[in-house]
């Protein structure tokens, strides 16, 4: 009896101790300093990649998997919270279990700090000297890790551009893009301000009430997948006027204005009113309330939507080579008073970071892999699906006789004709299926490859620009003062407002603010949707009053104060970085 008691006690103690140990994690195994990474790895491993940006869950396939396999003898098992659904559920579950993954892509600031404090990420200081490709972005790495006492994270979206230069390519991130062919049929009516879009879009919808597939066409089609602090599609038009969100504040890129999103005269409510009026005119897709981004995207592909807030939605879905040759496609219409927000090149990297998990199976290989992502080869091969790097050299592009990079036939097929099949020696399969599922940009595609002297993104190459002139772009260009690109037009007409890339991250909310924020944003999203689909002006106004009252009751003001302070701090950082790089 006594013996069993002792055994039971011992078992209980061991159990308790081991369960505690799994929570604290610790610093992982001791790392040894390396001067140079091995050129080959003998043992094949599969690594877990916890990737906050990934839209694909499972083992990486296709040509990117093939490159990773050949170079590092490993497979990437992508764990995507976006696919798993439900906010931070997956993150919290894995973090509680004491391990996020071998390779981690997460937000800097609060999340990274927490992971460092909890011992879930590895201090890669011992490997850093061997990370040669990152050496050219050393300033950004140092800045990211300056207060952490080690090298825990590696910044994404780094570049060697000036922070006051736009980080986007030929197109801005935001902009009023419409079906140019229909706009042309209306005789290119002038559009003074945002609200003047409505009659134009109504005429366009009347002109083209059904798409080729027989489905009805709507000017606006909304979706809710990305709703965060507010209704995401209702924020976008604010970006046409130089505002971007920081918490519940819309801050102008040049620091000249800060608005509460619940300001009845502010940009956010203005946009809700715009959609409400559009809905009264029958311009809003009734499926908006239930559809997701994928459905929306296929509607764009089928020509069922007339307005796009972003070039990378409308154009990438609808502007196929065939459509453009027929003169059909999305192009930006100029609003006379627009001043489009542009993200400056982030001097110290973007919001996300790469990090190595403290329990990584082979941390050295992880470090080598991360380093490779910053090499020219990695920058070409790995880019988010929407950013448009040129893919691996030899497959999709090659340097031509004149010494300029040029798309191969396969590259043209893959990028311009909507899909190509990759040869077996590159891993086979459709090109699109083999794109890096990391969906995270290491080096901005606008950055220049020292070997070719041209940017990583093919859209900047003269060889590409010479081949893509078509009926649509020519017509657009002729009507836009012979502009060669949207970005060029905006810059020439001073309709672009660049927010210097200060790599600012808002400090973590204290837990009370965070809780208030989460409750308030739920209410804001809920009422925003209801307001867009309100049945009458009076209902719209009463919902607005109710929203403001409820939000204030739940502590909106307190959170707003925090956000206002952050917005101003962000502006200070922008001013500072501008001066730093100018001098």
């Amino acid at each position: 009896m006594k013996l069993t008691k002792k055994v039971a006690l011992a078992a209980a103690v061991i159990l308790a101790a081991s369960s505690l140990a799994s929570c604290t994690g610790g610093g992982g195994e001791k790392t040894t300093a390396s001067e140079e990474f091995p050129s080959s790895w003998d043992e094949e491993i599969t690594v877990d990649v916890f990737d906050g940006l990934a839209n694909y869950m499972g083992v990486q396939q296709g040509w990117f998997a093939d490159i990773v396999k050949k170079k590092f003898n490993m497979k990437l098992n992508i764990i995507a919270p976006n696919v798993a659904g439900g906010g931070d559920t997956l993150y919290n579950t894995r973090v509680s279990a004491g391990e996020l993954g071998d390779l981690i892509v997460t937000d800097k600031g609060e999340k990274l700090d927490e992971l460092i404090a909890g011992g879930l990420v590895l201090d890669a200081a011992d490997y850093y000297p061997a990370m040669d490709s990152l050496a050219s972005f050393d300033k950004a790495v140092e800045r990211l890790n300056e207060d952490s006492g080690g090298i825990y994270g590696f910044p994404t979206s780094v570049s060697s551009l000036q922070p006051t230069e736009p980080s986007e390519g030929l197109n801005p991130t935001f902009g009023p893009f419409v079906r140019w062919d229909l706009y042309k049929e209306l005789g290119y009516p002038e559009i003074g301000t945002l609200e003047d879009l409505l009659p134009v879009l109504a005429d366009m919808q009347e002109l083209n009430p059904t798409a080729d597939n027989g489905q009805p066409v709507y000017a606006f089609s909304l979706f809710k997948d990305w709703d965060g602090n507010m209704m995401v599609t209702a924020k976008q038009p604010a970006c046409f006027y130089g505002y971007d969100e920081i918490g519940f504040v819309l801050a102008k890129a040049d620091g000249s204005d800060y608005q509460s999103i619940l300001d009845p005269d502010g940009e956010y409510i203005r946009n809700l009113r715009l959609y409400y009026e559009a809905n009264q005119l029958g311009l809003v897709d009734p499926e908006s309330t239930t559809q997701n981004y994928d459905t929306l995207f296929s509607k764009f592909q089928n020509g069922q939507v007339l307005f796009s807030w972003w070039p990378w939605l409308g154009q990438s879905a609808y502007n196929t080579e065939q459509n453009m040759a027929d003169g059909k496609g999305f192009e930006m219409v100029p609003l006379a008073d627009q001043s489009i927000f542009s993200y400056g090149a982030e001097a110290y990297g973007g919001k996300q970071v790469f990090a190595i998990g403290s329990k990584a199976e082979d941390p050295e290989r992880m470090a080598a892999f991360i380093d490779w992502l910053y090499s020219p080869e990695g920058a070409y091969a790995n880019s988010s699906q929407t950013m448009g790097s040129a893919g691996p050299e030899g497959l999709t592009w090659e340097v031509n006789d004149a010494g300029e990079p040029e798309l191969t036939d396969l590259g043209k097929e893959a990028f311009l004709e909507g899909g190509a099949t990759v040869p077996e020696e590159w891993g086979g399969g459709a090109y699109a299926d083999g794109v890096s599922a990391l969906n995270t940009t290491s080096v901005l595609p606008i950055d220049v490859d020292p070997a070719t002297g041209f940017p990583y993104s093919y859209t900047f190459w003269p060889t590409y620009q010479a081949t893509v002139a078509n009926t649509l772009t020519e017509d657009w260009s002729a009507n836009m003062g012979d502009a060669t690109s949207t970005m060029g037009y905006l810059e020439d007409n001073e309709q672009l407002l660049v927010a210097p890339g200060a790599s600012y991250t808002a400090p973590a909310d204290d837990s009370e603010t965070e809780t208030l924020r989460n409750q308030v944003k739920d209410i804001i999203k809920q009422y925003s949707w209801q307001m867009v689909f309100a049945e009458s002006d009076s209902q719209f106004e009463s919902l607005l009053d109710e929203l403001i009252e409820t939000a204030n009751g739940l502590g909106f003001d307190k959170v707003l104060d925090v956000d206002m302070a952050n917005a101003k701090e962000q502006n200070d950082a922008r001013v500072a970085v501008t001066e730093e790089f100018a001098g």
Binding site: G87, T89, V95, L120, K224, P286, Q519, D522, S528, G553
Partner: protein, 333 residues
């Protein structure tokens, strides 16, 4: 699942009751070591259940400690900040917050009461089904109505979506027939949310709920029917005067169990059906806890609200107990 667990507890309590009676009797009659050994053996018999009850009902109460911390999973409980009663204060400190929880409680109770009010439907369904003479028809109806119980709520929502969304079958038919010009909003509206939710759970649970009554009907003594028929009772009279009274005890037990479960209406159904338009009326307590904890990322506050549920449940139980004491002269606890 919950009902099963509940009935297990009932059985267990019954067993424990019997046991204590027995041992009391024994103690009174003959206090010998042999008797002691018997009661120890019997104690060993219930030990596993005591352990289970402890593990699943009492041990989790340890989790209430999270209410006193600002819990961050990455830091663990030891690394998280101790904040005392901050979350409780936050909950009671703001009228808007209280109003929200009030609305959530109203939703929970309303949906539960609608569920209880419609709990006679499986009973009626079973009685009528039993009267069907053709066995093939009876069993196929039974199978078809029991099947939805095995479909997950996610799939039920898919069915609901393809039927009732703005581009769903129903709206297509109505539009094509020219009955409506704009699609009707069945899913994204705050009109009649409680009712539609109840209808969906009836659709899903009716056939399944009827099974237990069908079993009870099979156990009714046939001679009762025979003698009733000899006395000239018609079909509806035998249903009303024999079947219904015979089923009453079963019905009352199930009713009691569902009243005990009044705050537990689960969250799957409401989770899949929730959207910005119906959220205000669909958010039941379990879903609210999930939304605050998982979606809103505040596990500590979610625990506080979860605690609230336990406290209300205990209060309800004590009320019912007091009523029972007064009415029947017997108390449950």
């Amino acid at each position: 699942m919950t009902t099963q667990a509940q009935s297990q507890v009932v059985l267990q309590e019954a067993a424990m009751g019997n046991l204590s009676h027995q041992s009391k009797r024994r103690r009174g009659r003959r206090f010998t070591p042999a008797g002691g050994r018997t009661s120890f053996t019997l104690f060993l018999c219930i030990l596993p259940f005591l352990v289970l009850a402890f593990l699943f009902s009492y041990l989790p109460l340890y989790g209430w400690i999270y209410t006193l911390y600002d819990y961050k999973p990455a830091l663990g409980l030891a690394g998280s900040e101790f904040v005392g009663l901050q979350w409780f204060q936050m909950l009671v400190g703001s009228p808007a917050q209280m109003a929200q929880i009030g609305q959530v409680l109203v939703n929970t109770l309303a949906i539960s009461f609608l569920g209880i009010a419609t709990s006679v439907l499986p009973l009626a369904f079973a009685i009528f089904l039993n009267e069907v003479r053709a066995p093939w028809f009876r069993s196929s109806v039974q199978t078809l109505t029991a099947l939805p119980n095995f479909i997950s709520w996610v799939l039920v929502y898919m069915i609901a979506f393809s039927l009732f969304s703005s581009s769903g079958l129903v709206n297509d038919v109505l539009m094509d027939a020219g009955l409506v010009t704009a699609p009707l909003k069945f899913l994204d509206t705050d009109q009649n949310v409680w009712l539609t939710m109840t209808l969906w759970s009836i659709w899903k649970g009716l056939g399944w709920g009827a099974i237990i009554y069908l079993a009870a009907i099979a156990g009714v003594d046939q001679s009762l029917y025979e003698s009733a028929r000899i006395d000239g009772a018609g079909r509806f009279q035998t249903m009303w005067y024999i079947t219904v009274p015979q089923l009453m005890p079963t019905y009352l037990v199930l009713l009691l169990l569902s009243i005990a479960n009044i705050l537990n209406n689960g969250m799957e159904q409401y989770y899949v059906f929730q959207n910005a338009f119906n959220k205000e009326y669909i958010q039941v307590l379990d879903l609210y806890v999930y939304n605050v904890g998982m979606t809103g990322n505040n596990l500590s506050l979610a625990t506080v609200i979860g605690m609230l549920k336990s406290i209300i449940s205990v209060a309800l139980l004590l009320t019912v107990n007091a009523v029972s004491k007064r009415v029947r002269g017997e108390s449950i606890v």
